[in-house]
Symmetry: D4
Subunit: 168 residues, 8 copies
């Protein structure tokens, strides 16, 4: 089955963060691929990857990177596919990566999620594809409903717990 | 023609920033709508808007807000449609709005662009819809090529200009 | 006994911070309730909660949240009751939560306390209610006096301790 | 008529910000007083003011200050009345004042509003007093409804304006 | 022997930082006193302390405090003696305390040292007193020379160590 | 009359800030000198200056600098006289200069005042010298009293002004 | 005469900052070239430029960029020539550009200068080339000496000016 | 063999960071020296070092320092050799050191690398020397190629690993 989403990361040390995206796609049965590609250490590979993505059927690219995080922006420059950037906290609490990803110049957007937010990147990719795929839209709605049930349940647990403080 | 994208803003004072998105859609002939809705001052209207968006055929929502910018996240909570957040510089150089938009909790992503980056939000929306719309994909590719030509032209102008410094 | 204060938090992971408020109310014998409600994952529950609070006799709401902390502001939009926001340090040392809570737009205030400051939130709630409740005002004055005695005692302990450095 | 709220500011240069609070109270017909008192230049006056406030019938104090903004915290130390702090942007975009006001130690809260947020401070004071005053609660509800109408109206104006962009 | 310097701290939890100052004075045989005084929890004690300091022969006061660190500025307001402020890292890496101490308004200076810089505060106090005390000036010069010798020695140790890397 | 205080600045463009110190000394009749010396452009002159200061009778040095503000620390390294550092806002709202001045390593303090705080630097210098000079101490006390009178007067003016808002 | 240094900038709007580098090279008679190249809008041109630079005899590249400033890092990835990065203040006081340039991952350095520091970038380029060019080293020494004379002269002017404040 | 590069650090506690530079030079067989020198504690030694560096054949100096990191700038003031500054994270996540190193005034550049970026400093030094040394240029090109191979290999490992998530 051909991958619809491509997850890339600047370094294999980013895997513990980025695998949350992989797990989401696995759970949602969305075919994906995952690679390590460095904007700075393997620029030729990055270019080949970016230029070929659309032809291979990739709909969305998720790129995670830390520090002076150029990977998402560099790829955004080379493909018309939407790019989701995940700032990874490798220094300065992730503020350097966040600014280096989100503050793109006019013309070349990167859809940025929160620091270390790989799960949200995956959900966002799924929402993007669902703009043209009704069955995926239904799955996304079910996922959202499920999320709500979990916190409703958590609140019930909390309510029991709260009695230890409560007067009267 | 039914709108595919909905642009909303927290306050009409955000219009000078957000109208860059409107102009892009106009140029690209993508039907859109534009509204002012405050997460804090008109919560019921926001809810009605968010819940009805999908039914009305909206594919992507672009939400601009400044300060403690809750509008994009609040809407993201209420619809399965992808939300693009535009942090608006109304205080603290826009850092408050950026953090209040991008740092969403796991489960509810907002695709965040740079501070005051309404044009990039519009391009991103167009890329999202193009994941399921080949003719829009072609328009996006043409737009990107055109952008490149502009900077190539700018460089030629600069080259002429640079002779005033250049020795020999 | 009907609750006068309602403590809510965006996630049950916020409980270790927020339970300091619960302990204060327990100690002061102020009836309270405590719930987990997510502005993003359970928006309908949040709305029901916020709109019903006044009718149920709640005088003040304390809302703790981290990251892009929208919960306090979202509730403030839906009720005339005063809202106290507690920024929780879940990322960026809590600066994202602080700005997302305190920088509310004109018209919808949130009374913000320091990062992880749930005890201060509870004291503040008690001060607010005491504006119309003289017997609570007396308890608050006693609490403040007690606090002072503790630091006076701490200073005495320190004075003994200091002799190990002091030349004579 | 005896003042219920006291507005103080660290310097008369803070008046352009703080007068928004005064105007709100005037509009709402809530009796107030307004003074300039410096935590650093007139500490004895500050003390006399803080200690006498409750006896004079003051229910809430709003204190605005910039830079190393100590005034709200210093007064909070001396009275059981709730204190609302307004960080004023006199340097560093107001971040110094915000942190110097909001990050109070356990035991002594200051209810902090956004940078230059004097109007929100006044609304918050009104909400606090309304916890024990039903007729003020009604006024607050009316004020909130009025705010909503203004933005609904603004949206209508925007809708007309938006046609200049909209493809059809 | 009467104390020349007074070390105060906002909380006994600041002792591990502030005792570096005590050790310096002990080593230099400068008589000192040390107390815990909270600007917010014991304002009356702070006032008595500040106003009596000069009469008791205190030449310089060193005040350490964290978070919304008001203690140094509050004391500076009440005495003509020079005050040295030590920002203590209790939150936000100490940035809140640094700004709350150093950004004093015109007229009331606090001589601020680095975050957790209690040793430097003590050296600075010794330099201040030495402006009018030649024998202390001599001690300070000897201390400075000693400091230099330590780093010269450290460099010699490093030079030996460095051979393990050095090509020859 | 021999100068007791030396004001130096990294660049003559710092004069509009630093002249507030000069005016204070003029008003207080404290003899001073003023020079431009760059830690980076005239290191040899800085060294000669720093090493000779004590011999020439200088009691305190005030050094103002912006950006990577090394001047105060460099001089502190070369003399046992207390150094007061004034961070000048030449970029980044003065945060770079503040951190480059205040965060000195253990052993070499710089007494730092607020951003652009040259007046406070001068008052602090006067307080330092007064630790060994009773007549200057008296002048400082008078100056402080005078400052208080000004704000008391300002408050009276404000009180009149406030009536335009006040309901009665 | 073949260029030794290449100045590039992300956008022609960076010219007012970057031309300070051009003027320095003109004054020093170091042959240079200047181009506008966008890492994001003209990636293919950037690659051609970077890969050909060494062959054309370029010794050092100076790259200025603002916001999510990827240009210096992207070029550093593609050539063994040293790259000097100039963060340009286009938003957030230039902090985004500074972090996006300086925080490069291990293996791919960018020699970063201060925000808008194009003159310093040019001087640094000249110092780099002079490591293998003795006649340029002599010019650099002369330039440095000249800089020192200017501030010595400025200090003399200041000394005259200072008499208007000086007592006695 | 005479050293071409000199590594200095403000304190021996910086060795764990700075030794990455030493290891690089060892691996590349570039002769170097390494010393601890404090801008603040041993200013005379710093001056002797800086002024003698060129005569001893040093081509580039790498200076690491934390906090108010003056060492790189102070040395840059005293020699025409290019200086590379390494901000060391000793407080505030290294932001104080970064700003104190990079924000040098016009005329005196410091080539700044990322926080704790000693390896990049060494690579940059090697690139600088290679502007006038073709055999070193070849070594640098080989090093860069080797770096690329490592990440290509890492990606192959990742590809195997990724199968544990991948739907098929």
């Amino acid at each position: 089955m051909k991958a619809l989403v491509s997850i890339i990361m600047g370094s294999t040390s980013d895997l513990p963060v980025m695998e949350k995206a992989a797990k989401f796609f696995d759970e949602m049965e969305i075919p994906f691929e995952m690679n390590a590609l460095s904007a700075h250490r393997t620029p030729a590979e990055v270019e080949k990857f970016a230029k070929g993505a659309k032809e291979r059927g990739i709909k969305v690219i998720i790129a995670g990177a830390g520090m002076a995080a150029h990977l998402p922006g560099v790829i955004a420059a080379m493909t018309p596919i939407p790019i989701i950037g995940v700032p990874i906290n490798a220094s300065l609490d992730g503020m350097d990566a966040l600014l280096a990803i989100v503050q793109m110049p006019p013309g070349i957007p990167v859809a940025t999620v929160g620091i270390n937010g790989a799960l949200n990147a995956a959900i966002l990719a799924s929402q993007m594809i669902a703009t043209g795929d009704d069955s995926l839209m239904k799955k996304n709605i079910a996922y959202k409903e499920n999320l709500k049930q979990k916190i409703v349940k958590a609140n019930e647990d909390l309510s029991k717990l709260v009695y230890k403080y409560k007067v009267s």
